[in-house]
């Protein structure tokens, strides 16, 4: 069931669009902000709230890469794998993350700390290679900086 808070936030979004389905993406992101990811149950709840079928909501949920249909770690790393970062050493960053955290794209570290996902160009090409951890952008990544950075997240 949607919490009172989730329901309230979804209702607030409804003011901004002329029909209920339009709120679908916002609703998925709202639920994800509260629960960390979007479960099958959450899909059914959102569908009910927006008078859509669960299949319709799931079709939307599975399209967008920032909607997580599986549980993620406490922090999500979005590593830019686009061309400028590739030129500037994305491969080394990815290899270091794999070695240090033991994970590849789509995986969560055994301690539940990090999930690693690829991101299309983060628009930080002048500070390549770059990545985001949760809502924070980190650029000019090199091996020492990356190590120190990961230590800051528990």
């Amino acid at each position: 069931m949607l919490s009172a808070e989730e329901r309230e936030e979804i209702e607030a979004e409804l003011q901004r669009y002329p029909d209920r389905q339009a709120v679908c993406i916002d609703a998925l992101l709202i639920v994800q902000r509260h629960r960390g990811w979007v479960s099958d149950e959450a899909v059914r709840d959102i569908a009910e709230a927006l008078a859509m079928s669960p299949a319709e909501v799931d079709a939307v949920a599975t399209f967008y890469n920032r909607v997580f249909r599986r549980p993620v770690g406490r922090h999500v790393i979005f590593l830019c794998d686009s061309v400028s970062c590739w030129i500037m050493g994305y491969g080394r960053v990815r290899a270091q993350l794999a070695a240090r955290l033991g994970i590849g794209f789509g995986e969560t570290s055994a301690d539940g700390r990090f999930t690693l996902l690829p991101a299309p160009c983060l628009g930080a090409c002048d500070h390549a290679p770059a990545m985001m951890i949760d809502d924070t952008l980190h650029g000019d990544l090199d091996p020492e900086r990356l190590d120190a950075l990961l230590d800051r997240y528990s």
Binding site: R16, Y17, P18, D19, Q21, A22, V23, C24, I25, D26, L28, L29, A59, V60, F63, Y64, N65, R66, V67, F78, D81, S82, V83, S84, W86, I87, M88, Y90, G91, R92, R94, P118, A119, P120, C121, L122, G123, A124, C125, D126, H127, A128, M132, D135, T136, L137
Partner: protein
């Protein structure tokens, strides 16, 4: 004032709040606009020759002219800001959104007034968190200051402005796919033939414009079409936010006269290539443009001049290929991106791009065959213009077809020597 778009932007400080923006002359363009007839603004923008800075370069005034006007026009009408900057190698709209959010808001109100829109949405990619915070603050201040909402500055004009945070996917930058995303659907492109200016969001008249395009509008209203045209070098008018990334000394963005030669941007602003590196090519305006070669660097970076060297201005943010970076690996990276970001709606794109990507990855890893080059060339034709709903696959073929032409010898060497001459760790062979 030769850098109108970035005049208030300082990378080391917070953007101007409403009061400082007003003190710096902000919202004067809106005051002026509200004294003019809406069509007069569209006319000004047309005379100025403003073109779309999101990559396509379509004349903005002509786009707006297609919107039904007058008391019988269908309502509500919508203005949508495409702030879904995701073209690889492109980082210019971020500067405008983070650096001067009130300029963005003013630009939206002026432009919305020109087409008499009732509602405007900023479609912002989810990763631009700082931009979202700053825009949200600017929007709230603008509502409180009477620049948004009912009866703006007692003109009788109403506009609601909402910030929509996207849930991802490059295809959302395609205007009609973006509209589907705003309607809460999968972001697949809509069939061509129906103009969104007539039937867009929820079947209503809708204009979609890029961030940088719109940010020019208040300045054109304030200073006129002739002033705007005089900002440019040569035939093209206005300024452009150019960018350079790759192995140059000073990667970054700069607002310069439209038509500044590529060489000047690369050498005087980006500082040239790092020591010991030589230039092999430049993707002039994001991943969906054709390579420009070192001997073509004197070309002016504007829409028409770029066509004379067989490429496009695109987003005007260049990606530099140096001689220690493998061109085959670079193309494999680009096509990996496009294959992943295909929405899957039409077959050539959904099935063709993974084939292209896997073929490139195989060549790069030393597992290519001579006939692969003909296979790739065939794909550049069948994924080109005319076979797909939208521009994603044709855009993906632009760097590939020019890469096959200019770096043929590098492809052949990979196949002949059964390895990447730059070594296995030049980038990412993991795709």
């Amino acid at each position: 004032m030769d850098t109108p778009l970035t005049q208030h932007i300082r990378p080391d400080r917070e953007p101007l709040d409403l009061r400082s923006y007003e003190q710096a002359g902000g919202y004067q363009a809106l005051r002026q606009a509200l004294t003019l007839a809406p069509q007069a603004i569209t006319r000004l923008v047309t005379e100025a020759g403003l073109r779309g800075m999101g990559g396509a370069g379509f004349p903005t005034g002509r786009k707006w002219s297609a919107v039904p006007m007058g008391p019988d026009a269908p309502r509500p009408k919508y203005l949508v800001v495409n702030a879904d900057e995701m073209e690889p190698g492109t980082f210019k709209d971020r500067l405008l959104l983070e650096g001067d959010p009130h300029q963005m808001v003013e630009a939206i109100v002026v432009s919305a007034y020109a087409i008499q829109a009732d509602v405007a949405y900023i479609f912002l990619r989810g990763e631009y968190v700082l931009a979202a915070q700053r825009l949200q603050r600017a929007i709230a201040e603008a509502y409180a200051g009477g620049y948004l909402g009912r009866d703006i500055l007692h003109s009788g004009y109403h506009l609601e402005l909402y910030l929509h945070i996207s849930a991802g996917r490059y295809i959302c930058g395609e205007a009609s796919a973006l509209l589907n995303a705003l309607e809460g659907r999968r972001a697949i492109p809509r069939a061509k033939g129906v103009r969104t200016a007539v039937s867009g969001l929820w079947g209503r008249p809708t204009i979609v414009n890029n961030v940088e395009t719109l940010c020019n509008v208040p300045h054109i209203v304030l200073h006129g079409a002739e002033w705007f045209k005089a900002l440019g070098r040569g035939q093209a008018g206005g300024t452009k936010i150019y960018g350079v990334s790759g192995k140059v000394r000073r990667p970054g963005t700069w607002e310069l006269p439209m038509g500044t030669p590529m060489r000047e941007i690369l050498e005087a602003h980006a500082g040239g290539l790092r020591d010991g590196l030589a230039l092999r090519g430049v993707l002039p305006g994001g991943a969906s443009t054709e390579f420009v070669l070192p001997e073509q660097l004197d070309v002016a970076m504007d829409f028409d001049s770029m066509a004379t060297v067989g490429s496009r201005l695109g987003t005007g943010t260049m990606i530099v290929l140096d001689d220690q970076t493998c061109p085959v690996g670079l193309l494999a990276n680009l096509e990996h991106f496009f294959a992943r970001e295909s929405c899957g709606w039409c077959t050539p794109c959904r099935d063709g791009l993974p084939w292209v990507q896997q073929t490139l990855a195989a060549i790069d890893a030393g597992r290519g065959a001579p006939e692969d080059l003909e296979l790739l060339a065939m794909h550049t034709r069948f994924l080109g213009p005319g076979y797909t709903f939208c521009g994603l696959a044709p855009g993906a073929m632009e760097p590939l077809q020019s890469g096959l032409r200019h770096f043929r010898e590098d492809f052949e060497r990979h196949i002949r020597e059964r390895r990447c001459p730059w070594g296995a760790d030049h980038g990412d062979h993991l795709h």
